[in-house]
């Protein structure tokens, strides 16, 4: 069973969304609906599954519906039609109290512009989720301090958010989401408002935390490099429609349509493709010259061993962790994988 399942979700913004539903179901696109009825299609028949412990990145340009989609998971926005199933329970069936309880314990969220409470100190912000859970103050402060340390903000716990830099504020946002110990973390363009250096810093921190915590993370971004770095799976949205779901390599090697192609056009392939993806397996490799070989780990990115090959004019022998030979890479494989489609 998947951790999160979204089945045929539609979201239409406007005065009378239900009246537009038949038209959308018949396949009218966003522009037609807007022109004829004045309603905006936010999500158009989106279905996807997110597995436990993975980072699912949802990508698209602004207006593609990705922020709308993530808000459906904790019902900050209600869908016009469709079902959202979290851990086997349909979220749409919750009444008010159940929904509040669900938000307190199952999901936490990180926001693009941080969404910190300006009138609360850092430690009060981080403890907010625990406060909502009804925990004792002592326990709140203890857990909050742990999380503040985990994101590297010790010493700032009694500052107000407006005394911190953007990067530090988002660390507070991250610590606040971690503090409730929920299984699922929603991150809505969490790093988009940060400058590039701090952003890559935060990405690394998230990866480190995730390797320990193994939470289910739904991450929204418009940045392909970010999604390739963080995502186990990537879903690409265009005008409210989910156009492709797959692993980072799937997306790059086999883009589903022109929209995805345009997205991956400028990506640095050497940075995201691993040796094991492009190697020829041992039995197909008779034509590869094996006199002058360089050993490469199967999980290394092309970027890491490319300079060596170019300098020494040799081929690669791909091995796994225990040293078994898995395959070979010659210049021909490198050329095909690095050429833009």
């Amino acid at each position: 069973m998947s951790k999160i399942e979204i089945n045929n979700v539609y979201k239409i913004f406007g005065n009378n969304p239900q009246s537009v539903m038949p038209m959308v179901r018949e396949g009218a696109n966003k522009e037609e609906v807007l022109e004829q009825t004045g309603h905006t299609v936010g999500l158009d028949n989106v279905s996807l599954k997110i597995e436990e412990g993975e980072t699912f990145v949802c990508m698209g340009l602004s207006g593609s519906g990705k922020s709308t989609l993530i808000r459906h998971l904790n019902r900050l926005i209600d869908p016009t039609d469709g079902e959202i199933i979290v851990e086997g329970t349909n979220v749409m069936s919750f009444n008010k109290e159940q929904l509040i309880d669900f938000r307190r314990h199952k999901m936490s969220m990180v926001f693009q512009r941080f969404g910190l409470f300006p009138h609360k100190t850092v430690i009060q912000n981080v403890g907010y989720g625990l406060e909502m859970q009804g925990k004792q103050l002592e326990e709140i402060n203890k857990t909050a301090m742990e999380k503040i340390e985990a994101v590297g903000l010790s010493g700032f716990e009694n500052q107000f958010p407006n005394q911190l830099s953007g990067g530090m504020q988002q660390r507070v946002g991250l610590a606040r989401a971690l503090a409730t110990d929920s299984d699922i973390m929603l991150m809505d363009e969490a790093f988009s408002a940060l400058d590039p250096l701090i952003r890559s810093d935060m990405q690394k921190q998230l990866l480190d935390l995730q390797s320990e915590l193994k939470k289910t993370i739904v991450f929204i971004t418009h940045d392909l490099d970010e999604s390739l770095r963080l995502g186990d799976h990537i879903g690409i949205l265009n005008a409210g429609k989910l156009v492709q779901v797959g692993t980072p390599v799937d997306i790059i090697m086999n883009p589903a349509d022109d929209y995805v192609k345009a997205f991956v056009k400028d990506v640095n392939r050497a940075k995201v493709i691993k040796a094991k993806i492009i190697m020829k397996s041992t039995k197909d490799s008779d034509d590869i010259d094996k006199t002058n070989l360089i050993k490469v780990n199967e999980d290394q990115f092309i970027e890491e061993f490319l300079p060596q090959i170019v300098c020494s004019n040799s081929n690669c022998e791909v091995v796994d962790k225990s040293g078994n030979v898995k395959g070979y890479i010659s210049n021909k494989e490198l050329q095909t994988s690095l050429t833009k489609s």
């Binding site: 926001f111 969404g115 300006p118």
Partner: protein, 343 residues
């Protein structure tokens, strides 16, 4: 049901039209100047030209007068009760301030300003001198100023008690806002004498109608600013509270109200200033205070005296303004989103 819902607007408009027709018919049938026979109107169309026909006259005046009369006769005890409660509260405040030695009152104002302004020495000293000068201008002004302040304090207290919950209700539902907004517009535009005089008829001469008038005059800005303050709270901050499972109550008191507080304080400040503006007008219905000094000076053509009293009112305004304003400012510094504090 479905049809009713769909055509809500049409039904509403038909209802309005029906009321209009009913008003026409009743005003015609109640008019004393109507023609003997309705048929005359259809034969002789001279009523369409020239002056407004005399029979086309809504008897609103009669309705209000008779309504007012029954209100006074049948429910007089309610107004008497309100009168007694307000008068009691007023006397409590007034007697306390009048019986206290004047240096102590000035000291109290200074201490209050000091803490409200976030320990700003400059503001505190300035306010202290302003308070001193009220009595210094003319010894009698001290007591008059206290009487004025007492009326204002009760008026503002009523404004806060009624205005802030109204503002909250407006921020929470668009429908409530649509109902209350025109009422606020009415309260702000109707000439104050229109409610001062009925006030006298219901509560008698003196301080109580002045308090009521102050309330009607001063409450709209507080309601509006409370509503605005709550609605202006950053949507992402509200979403954050929702996402972590805050209930409606927790959201209101833990997030919305604290963040709206600078705006609400601004509302109370506006409320105070408008209440002070009412003081002079209220003196015309026999309310004692600084206002009647202005009135007296003008009646005697004693320009100096009127000016002195006028300056005393301005000083009182400055004192009250500084106290409420600076409190709002100290709050604002802390809660303003994403502004760096200069260190």
């Amino acid at each position: 049901m479905e049809a009713l819902k769909k055509n809500k607007k049409i039904f509403f408009n038909i209802g309005l039209l029906a009321i209009f027709v009913w008003l026409l018919i009743t005003s015609y049938s109640q008019s004393k100047r109507k023609p003997d026979n309705i048929g005359e109107l259809l034969n002789d169309f001279s009523w369409l030209g020239g002056k407004w026909p005399k029979w086309l006259d809504l008897p609103l005046m009669n309705w209000i007068n008779s309504g007012f009369k029954t209100l006074n006769e049948k429910y007089g005890y309610i107004f008497e009760a309100i009168n007694n409660v307000l008068l009691y509260m007023l006397m409590l405040v007034k007697n306390f301030l009048i019986q206290a030695p004047w240096p102590l009152v000035i000291l109290g104002v200074i201490v209050l300003t000091y803490f409200a302004s976030g320990r700003k020495i400059g503001t505190t000293v300035f306010v202290g001198f302003c308070t001193f000068f009220i009595g210094f201008l003319h010894p009698i002004f001290w007591q008059k100023a206290i009487e004025t302040t007492a009326i204002m304090l009760i008026g503002i207290f009523l404004c806060v008690v009624a205005g802030i919950p109204l503002g909250i209700a407006m921020a929470r539902s668009a429908r409530t806002r649509n109902v209350i907004l025109p009422v606020l517009d009415l309260m702000q535009t109707i000439p104050s004498f229109c409610y001062l005089i009925p006030g006298i008829m219901l509560f008698g001469l003196g301080a109580v109608p002045a308090i009521i008038a102050t309330f009607i005059y001063a409450v709209p800005p507080l309601v509006r600013l409370t509503d605005l303050g709550i609605r202006l709270v950053d949507t992402e901050v509200i979403e954050a509270a929702d996402a972590f499972g805050a209930s409606k109550k927790q959201k209101l008191w833990g997030v919305q109200m604290p963040l709206a507080l600078p705006n609400i304080m601004q509302g109370i400040n506006q409320c105070t200033m408008m209440a002070l503006a009412m003081v002079v007008i209220a003196s015309m219905i026999g309310t004692r205070g600084l206002g009647d000094e202005v009135l007296l000076g003008l009646q005697q053509l004693n320009v100096g005296r009127a000016a002195e009293a006028g300056i005393a009112i301005v000083l009182l305004a400055i004192v009250l303004d500084r106290i409420t304003q600076s409190y709002g400012e100290t709050l604002q510094e802390r809660t303003a989103p994403n502004t760096k504090k200069g260190k």
